[in-house]
Symmetry: D3
Subunit: 223 residues, 6 copies
């Protein structure tokens, strides 16, 4: 299979990071391809930036279709552009947020998203609500700008850990590019720590293996 | 990876069917093992039978732990015994119902479970509610006894198709052992038709690939 | 009327305690009978133990049907085995958790379950969710093993009281066998403190008085 | 115990009917007293009439407190005046709607309220929503004026029966004074048919037996 | 347009305050008329008082209809009497609580009602639930009697401000007659502070401008 | 006040229609300005087109800020681009869908959106869910392409009317540019028929009158 991991922003180091993360969990026979929009925004924190992020996703899916991509992972917390990508792509599309939430629901009764800037709580809330998981998932923020993690996030382990409550049974990292927090936080907290990109890769592989793709009946018909 | 697909009832032909279905989607390097309880009930339609089904699941997980199983799929619509299995198993456990629902949510906005006897609507409702998907998923029944599908279900394509409404974008087959309906119904309905066992296999593979298993913090600590 | 209070675990002192509690509220003409499974688990804290608890409930209902029992109370927080019991019993079956929640909803706008080990929060959440009371009920834990209350629970009054928030208007004791906490906590907190077993007895009496039992239409038909 | 069944409207024949219904299920040692407001409205179909109904409830509770009433049942579908009654009465207060819904939830997975005029659907919806039972309960109407049942409701059996769907497992009669439908409809439909007044009596008896009354912490403090 | 702002209690200074608040936002061509019931209760804190408040609303709407009022604002947090008023009035009726909640939802993702006595949390919860905004709105109390604000509320700015959490994006004042808190709290908190009366006036004006009034199909038909 | 009504698509006749509709309800002192993106898509039916619609909204808000616009109405069912617009605009922004839903909730207990192509049901569901109104609002489709209404919609009155159920108390037109259906359908159905653009204008006027705009605390801070 050939899977494209789309970074909706223009920061190539972020693409490299999510592609590397994706490869750690992909099937041996899966080829992981990274996608970075040629133009757009360097990061996605606001709803305004999400519109440009969605444009970047559309742009990458168009290129992916030309390259014979079998399925897509959208590597932006908030799943920016995922519905549009579903309409354009022939293969399935999985967002990192929905994948992280589903993964958490399979291994924990109650769990928490910890996102970076407080303004992005709404982006997480949107996907939690869309999936109906509000009775099991809380959303908190460490209130750090996304720019602070452009060269790694290991220095944030302490403030992430402080967000955990006694009722939390798993932690979802609320941003792409925090993969290097998974190891240290798992050890420190003694609970599963979930990165949405690594959660999404096997889900899209699984859809392809089942021969499934976005339903064309109503919502996600080709435009 | 070594994955056990547990049939909670004692009908070995059912085990064979779900194991065969699982193999169609498993990774090339995954070994699929079937599990059938030595004693219990021949099928699970009632809550009473679910208790014996759960015992069967426990029995199989115990054997699986001795055999070095890496992860489990529970092949009973209603996910009987899944919480207990999570506590016993070292590796992850995925129920076919939760897997089917998550898969549907990735490829369809609104979708429907069609289950067999009307009395099992409550079993589906339980998982739909547990995941919070009631705003996107409806549950209907064709009101056929499970025994009617012990030698295949292709003869039910017509009555399954009659349950579909114009707003449905994907169909979930509400019983294990209906895999042979996937092809005919997909073609007939022009929409994704989801079998929970094939949906669950890549999910448990994906958890293993990520090094994730049931959280031991509260709910699913070892007993 | 002849009502059986079923203790799903094998600890006979627990049965004695719940039978005694039941008698304090029963109608003068009600005979309360206790049931203890011959085999199973000494207590129910995990989902694994719940399966054996459910088996114990089934075993007791079978005996009860032979003895002409008119209705059943299941004395295990989490209502283990209640659905199966409904299918087997001719008379009505009431779980102590659902009864406690309904009772709380009749006398308080917002209320709280305080359960013992944190791992059992999920068992309470399940019934709260099944009844749809998540907007009025919170669930907390004192994180004490069930074994700590085998010889009475009066020593826990202080840590139970510490769980109460200013918005709580009633407290539900989240375990069978905490009846001796009702008096001291009621006095200390100045709010209703509810024991599920005493809540369930009049409910099952009331169903019998109305000539009502589990509907046989779909979900709880005899198996 | 001395329990007052309050009819919030001024139609004495309605009071007689609900008192008679209440007596069929009351404990042998319970005295059932009827209450009819001296002034007000002859029936409660609108929100406007509900205000006068609530006044009638207040009036009756005041008299009841003078007579040493131990607990109250409010016999109006929609539970008009129940919150105010809780604040005034020293003993517990149970509305017929909440009692009917809780009773249904104990004996059926999915159930339906059939109310009379379509305009009162909103009154039922209010209590369904307050209890959180919208995922299990639907509300329908036969669209008959309340006045049509002032001399009995047996002639409505047919149109009530037509409202029942295959997924319904119990039926709640959505108006006081329909007790004479319970028998014929139960036989005809083969499912439990619930009258809220007979459902409420054992619930208020049970609260009294447990020494419980409305919490005075916040919401229902004495005014 | 001629709009009546109804104070459901008998305290004329409260009427004056809400009328003055209403005038600050009304269209130049709108005439704002105040209504105070001749008899009733001096303030509405309990459900008992709400019944008399509702009577006061009915009384004022009757007078308003004689005066050719085009639309009504009910100035009592909890929207006491609004459903009855909708049935009586020919023009539209807007409650201050629903208006405040809708206004908050237009300018903030998550927001909070701060009410006065803790007992009135339930009144706010009722409207939050009726509108379905529980996933975005929390309700807290400063636990001050309504009487404390009869001569202004500016002295409460500090304790209101203390109720605000980092996730709150707007604050709703949970009582009529707190308009003088809007300015100081807005400045202090740096977030929108919403008074329900000023929120309701443009909504009722808007309904009138659109030629809309309460639907007469079912729920709010004239009684 | 100066309010811009933004048509997110490039069809100028649509802009003219919504501007005309807006003017029918605006305050006498309000200036209504129309906005049409210079480039983009001729209509918005898919999620893909929504991205370009959102770009168009951003473009128009930027121009509006230069022109001293006080507030914005986004005239696209689904409220495409509204969150981004809130971040960019200094004044308040109201979407036609949220405005229509709030308006319906003020005048009807249960109501229905009738949208055009079935694929746009998901766009309506998104806003219904965001506001939490799923318990009161249903969404249906007439399954007509948006292009069919580019020269008026009066010919659709019949098929819209056929979507109405006996429990519906108000109808929301699920597309911009259906204003000419309001009159005929209101008369035919005898219930309120709501156009989102005319619903939104007084709401944004009201926010301006109150001095309120999007909260800058978290979600809608300027990007």
């Amino acid at each position: 299979m050939k899977i494209m991991v789309i970074n909706p922003n223009t920061t190539r180091s972020m693409t490299d990071a999510v592609v590397a993360a994706a490869r750690t969990v992909a099937r041996p026979d899966t080829e992981i391809v990274g996608g970075t929009p040629a133009s757009g925004v360097p990061g996605v924190e606001s709803h305004y930036e999400e519109v440009y992020g969605a444009l970047g996703v559309i742009d990458q899916v168009r290129q992916g279709e030309d390259q014979g991509i079998d399925g897509y992972v959208v590597a932006c917390f908030g799943d920016t552009g995922v519905p549009a990508a579903r309409e354009l792509a022939n293969g399935p599309v999985v967002g990192m947020t929905e994948a992280a939430l589903m993964t958490a629901a399979l291994i924990a009764h109650r769990f928490t998203i910890v996102t970076l800037p407080r303004r992005t709580i709404a982006h997480s809330d949107r996907i939690v609500r869309d999936l109906g998981l509000g009775h099991r998932c809380t959303v908190r923020a460490v209130d750090v700008p996304v720019a602070d993690v452009s060269h790694g996030s290991a220095h944030l382990a302490e403030i992430f850990a402080q967000q955990v409550h006694p009722d939390d049974e798993a932690l979802i990292l609320g941003c792409a590019g925090l993969t290097d927090l998974v190891g240290p936080l798992t050890e420190r907290l003694g609970m599963p720590v979930i990165d949405g990109v690594t959660a999404a890769v096997p889900m899209v592989e699984g859809l392809i293996a089942q021969g499934l793709t976005s339903s064309r009946v109503n919502t996600w018909r080709h435009p």
